[in-house]
């Protein structure tokens, strides 16, 4: 009985020495862009959730709108 009381007292006393973690949580997890937005504003020609399709869409868009040497020649 006495031993149990000592252990219980020690446990209560030592609990004050505990410390909550104070590390910085940092930024929240962000979803990958290829998951899409599910909104009507999404560009057509690619499938949400398919990374290869999304990359192809961006490459086609970049070449089509920014590289006029490709369009003209």
């Amino acid at each position: 009985m006495k031993k149990t009381l000592i252990i219980a007292f020690a446990a209560i006393a030592l609990s004050a020495c505990g410390e909550k973690p104070q590390g910085m949580g940092g930024a929240k997890q962000d979803a990958a862009p290829q998951t899409g937005t599910g909104k009507a504003y999404m560009a057509s020609g690619w499938k949400a959730g398919d990374k290869t399709s999304w990359e192809s869409q961006l490459k086609a868009r970049a070449q089509g709108s920014q590289n006029e040497y490709n369009r003209i020649n």
Partner: protein, 204 residues
């Protein structure tokens, strides 16, 4: 895919500020905050050169290094973003950034400095893609819509290029090789005071 990058072709930029306007409109950026701006060297002098500057989404971003609350993160595409719920508005990133990208709204009571705001490469933030919360904090998430940043897509002369780093480098290289000039305008010489910087090739 390589890292997402911006490149501005100084031979093409006509200082129209279309990129600045497109950015402010697309993301409904408040007064006093400019995620993008046009910088001109030798303004008013014949041969002046301009480039459009915003967050360059550095591969080794100094803002990330100095942030005391670790609010920055880098996406798999190399876009440097931040979490406004974690940002404390201390301004360290502003001092660390060589491009002056971090902006701070000061419309609150007594002009108190708010959370940092910067170019997101039109990739939104850590809220759900396309959500109202993401739009209100970070602006539109065009990358998740399968589009490129509005500033580059709106650029009338296609001076501002955005997208996969390898691809925009190829487009720019092709232009320089075809016209035979234009790569020398901006670089270390310009940043550190070369007397030839910004002048036509062959000029003294």
């Amino acid at each position: 895919m390589a890292r997402m990058k911006f490149v501005c072709d100084a031979e093409r930029c006509i200082e129209c500020n279309g990129c600045v306007t497109a950015c402010k409109n697309e993301h409904e950026v408040p007064w006093g905050v400019n995620r993008r701006r046009v910088v001109t060297l030798n303004d008013g002098v014949p041969g002046e050169k301009s480039i459009s500057v915003a967050c360059m989404h550095c591969s080794d971003a100094p803002c990330m290094a100095v942030c005391p609350v670790n609010c920055f993160y880098r996406t798999d595409e190399g876009v440097v973003l931040h979490d406004k719920d974690v940002c404390i508005g201390c301004g360290y990133c502003s001092y660390a950034c060589p491009f002056g990208a971090p902006q701070f709204p000061s419309q609150g009571t007594f002009g108190v400095r708010g959370k940092m705001d910067k170019c997101t490469f039109c990739a939104g933030g850590p809220e759900d893609n396309g959500s109202q919360a993401e739009f209100e904090k970070y602006g539109r998430n065009r990358l998740a819509e399968g589009k490129l940043p509005a500033c580059a897509e709106m650029c009338s002369t296609k001076a501002l290029l955005a997208g996969d780093g390898d691809m925009v480098a190829d487009i720019f290289r092709n232009r320089v090789v075809t016209r035979g000039k234009g790569a020398e305008v901006w670089g270390w010489g310009t940043a550190y005071g070369s007397r030839q910087a910004g002048k036509p090739a062959g000029a003294k």
